[in-house]
Amino acid sequence: MNEIQSRGRQSHGFWAEAWARFRRKPLAMAALVFVAMLAAVAVLAPAIAGTKPVLCRYKGRLYAPCLGYFDRRLEPTVFAKDRFRGTYPKNLAEKDPDSWAIWPLVFQDPYRAVRENEWPGRPANPAKDEGRPSRINLFGTDQYGVDVFAKMVHGTTIALLVGVVSMGLAGTIGIIVGALGGYFGGWVDMLTSRITEIVMCVPTLVLILAVIAIVEKPTIWKTMAIIGATGWTGIARLTRGEFLRLRQSEFVTAARAAGAGPVRIMLRHILPNALAPVLVPITFGIASAILTESALSFLGFGPPPPAASWGSLLNDARSNLSMWWLVVFPGVAIFLTVLAYNLIGEGLQEVTDPRLREARK
C-alpha cells in the first residue's frame, strides 16, 4: 500500500520507470555497454587500426589522413600529389624531416598486407597458413596477409549498421502496415493481413538471394534494404494486435470526440502506447538481421571486396580450415553481438511487460 502511495506521488513516466528497472538487470546492462563499446569501435576504427596517421604535421600544416578510411575523398590531396602512395611512415620522414604524426594504436591495414619495413624494422605480414596470431598481428592474417584484427575493427561499422538500418526500415514498414490494418479494420485489414501472410510464406532466403542477384551492383546498403524489406512481418502482426486492442479504449474515443483525425490518433495517441511491445521484436530483429547478413556473406553473397564484413572472413575460412583464427575471432564477434542484442531485447521485454513483472514477484 505504502509503495503505491509513494509511487503515486513521484509519478515517473513509463519510460523513466522502465529505464530504472532496466538498469537493475546486470546482464542486460552489460549487453548495452557492449553495444555502446562496439559503436565506439566503429566510430574510432581508423584510430584503432590503420596505416594512415590519425593526425600529422606535414610541411607546416596539420592533416588527418585517417579520415580517408571513412571516405576516399576525405584524405588530404597533398599526400597523393607528393606521391605517398598510401605508405606514410617512410614518406613523411623523407619528404619533411620536421614532420610528426600520431599513429593508430595498431599499425595494420584492413585492405592490404603491410609490407616489409613499411613500419621501420618490422617484417612483412605473413600470408597463407603462416599467419597465426602474434604480437604484430593480434588476430592473425588471412591468406593474402591482410591483418584480421584491422579487418574486424573496420568491419564493426557494417555489423552495427546492418542491424540498425535494416530494422529501422522493417520497423517503419511493419508499424505502418500493422497500424493501418489494426486501426481501420474491414477491407484494409483484410488486404494488409493477406500481404503480410504472403511475405511471411515466401522463404526468406529465396527472396533475399533472388533480390541480391537482381540488383546490378550488390552493396552493403542494398543488402540492408533487402533484409529490412523482408523482415517486417512479425512487427506488423504485433502492431496490428496492439492497435486492434487500443482503438477500443476510452482515450481514443475521447481523442476522436475532441476532433482528432485518424492520422493524429494513430501517431500521437495509439502509437506511444503500443511502442513498448513493438520495440521488443525490433531488438530481436536486429540480432537476426546481423545473423542474416553474416550468413549471406558467409555463403559468398556479401558486399563485394574490399568492404570486409565479419561474415566474409568466415567465408575465407571455409577453404582454409587449418587457419582456425579466421573462424574463432569473427565467429566470437558475431556471437557476442547477437547475444548482446538478444539480452537487450529480453531485458526490454521484462521491464515493459507488466505480466512478466508480476511473474517475478
Binding site: 529465396v206 527472396l207 533472388a210 537482381i214 545473423l291 571455409r318
Partner: protein, 329 residues
C-alpha cells in the same frame, strides 16, 4: 468445419499463386539465363553462338516475356507437371525425390533429438526454477541459442576434421558417404551416420535451446494458475503436479510449434547443407539459384510454400482438437 476448411483452402490457393508469381518474376529477372550462366562460366570456348542460343531459348520457352512463362508454368503445375530441370536434364519431381531422403534423414533425426532432449530439459528447468543449477543450464541454453549455426559448424569442422585428424575421433568433413554404392548396407549406414553426426548436431542445438526455453516459459505461465494451487492443496506430489497438471496444459502451444516445424523438416536448411555439402533439398535450392534453373527454383518454392501453409493449417486444426474452448468458427 467444412466451410472453414474450404475457406482456408481457397485462401491458401490464392496465397500460393501470389507467392509463386513473385518468385517466378524475381527468378526470371535475375541477370543471366540458364544457358549463359551454365556454359559461359565453366568454359568460355563452350559459349553458345547467338543462333544456337536463340534456338535453345525457344525450346526452353525463354523467348517469351516472363509473365507468359509464368502462366505456362502454372498451367503445367495444375496438370501435375513441374517441368524439367535445365541444368540437370531431369524432371524436377525426380530431383526432389532424390534429395528428400537425405534432408529428411538430417532434419528428422534433429527434430527427434530436439524433442527427446528439449522436453525433459524444459521440465527440469521449470521444476528447479531459480536454483543455481537451473540458472546455469538456462544461461548455457541461452548462449547456445545466440550462437550462429554456421560458426558452430565451422568450429566443429575444425575440431573434428582438422585437429583430430588421424585419431579415432576424426569425423568426415563433407558429403553423405564416401563408400561406393555397392558396399554392404551395414558399412554404408555406419558411414552415413558418421557423416551425419556434425550436421545433425548443428541442426539440433539451436532448436533445442529455443524449444526448452519455450517449454519453460509456458510452464511458468501454467504453474501460476489456480488449478495448480488446487492440485497442491489436495495433496498431489510435486512430480504429479508438474507432469499431470501443469505440463499437460502446456501441450497446446507445443502442438503449434510442431506444426510450424513441418516446412523445415522437408525443406531442409540451406546453410547447414551447404557447409557440409549434404545432398539435400536446401543445397539443391542453393545450386538451382546459382544455375538459374527456373523450373527447379519454382518446384522447390512451391513445395516449401505448400508445406508452410499445411503446417499452419495443421497447427490451427490441432489447436481446436486439443483445446475444446477454441472453435474453428
Amino acid at each position: 468445419m467444412a466451410t472453414y476448411l474450404l475457406r482456408r483452402l481457397l485462401l491458401g490457393l490464392l496465397t500460393l499463386v501470389a507467392i509463386t508469381f513473385i518468385v517466378y518474376g524475381l527468378a526470371r529477372n535475375m541477370p543471366g539465363t540458364p544457358l549463359t550462366v551454365q556454359m559461359g562460366e565453366s568454359d568460355p570456348s563452350r559459349k553458345l553462338n547467338p543462333e544456337d542460343q536463340e534456338r535453345m531459348k525457344r525450346i526452353y520457352g525463354l523467348d517469351r516475356p516472363w509473365h507468359e512463362g509464368y502462366l505456362r508454368w502454372l498451367g503445367n503445375v495444375v496438370r501435375g507437371d513441374l517441368g524439367r530441370s535445365f541444368s540437370r536434364k531431369q524432371p524436377v519431381t525426380t530431383l526432389i525425390g532424390e534429395r528428400i531422403g537425405p534432408t529428411f534423414l538430417l532434419s528428422g533425426t534433429a527434430l527427434l533429438l530436439t524433442w527427446l532432449l528439449g522436453v525433459p530439459l524444459g521440465l527440469y528447468a521449470s521444476a528447479r526454477s531459480g536454483l543455481a543449477d537451473e540458472r546455469a543450464t538456462s544461461l548455457l541454453l541461452y548462449i547456445l541459442y545466440s550462437f550462429p549455426t554456421f560458426v558452430a559448424a565451422l568450429f566443429l569442422q575444425i575440431i573434428f576434421a582438422v585437429w583430430l585428424r588421424g585419431t579415432s575421433w576424426e569425423l568426415p568433413l563433407f558429403g553423405m558417404s564416401d563408400l561406393p554404392a555397392d558396399a554392404g548396407w551395414a558399412a554404408r549406414s555406419v558411414d552415413i551416420a558418421r557423416h551425419a553426426i556434425l550436421p545433425v548436431t548443428c541442426q539440433t542445438y539451436v532448436s533445442l535451446a529455443y524449444d526448452s526455453r519455450f517449454i519453460k516459459a509456458n510452464m511458468e505461465e501454467a504453474v501460476r494458475q489456480d488449478y495448480i494451487r488446487t492440485a497442491r492443496a489436495k495433496g498431489a506430489g510435486p512430480g504429479r503436479v508438474l507432469f499431470h497438471h501443469a505440463f499437460r496444459n502446456t501441450l497446446i502451444p507445443l502442438v503449434t510449434l510442431l506444426g510450424l516445424s513441418l516446412p523445415g523438416l522437408i525443406g531442409g536448411s540451406v546453410i547447414i547443407e551447404q557447409i557440409f555439402t549434404w545432398p539435400g533439398m536446401g543445397r539443391l535450392f542453393f545450386e538451382s539459384i546459382r544455375e538459374r534453373d527456373y523450373p527447379t527454383i519454382m518446384g522447390l518454392t512451391l513445395m516449401f510454400s505448400v508445406l508452410t501453409l499445411i503446417g499452419q493449417l495443421l497447427a490451427d486444426l490441432l489447436y481446436c482438437l486439443v483445446d475444446p474452448r477454441v472453435s474453428v468458427e
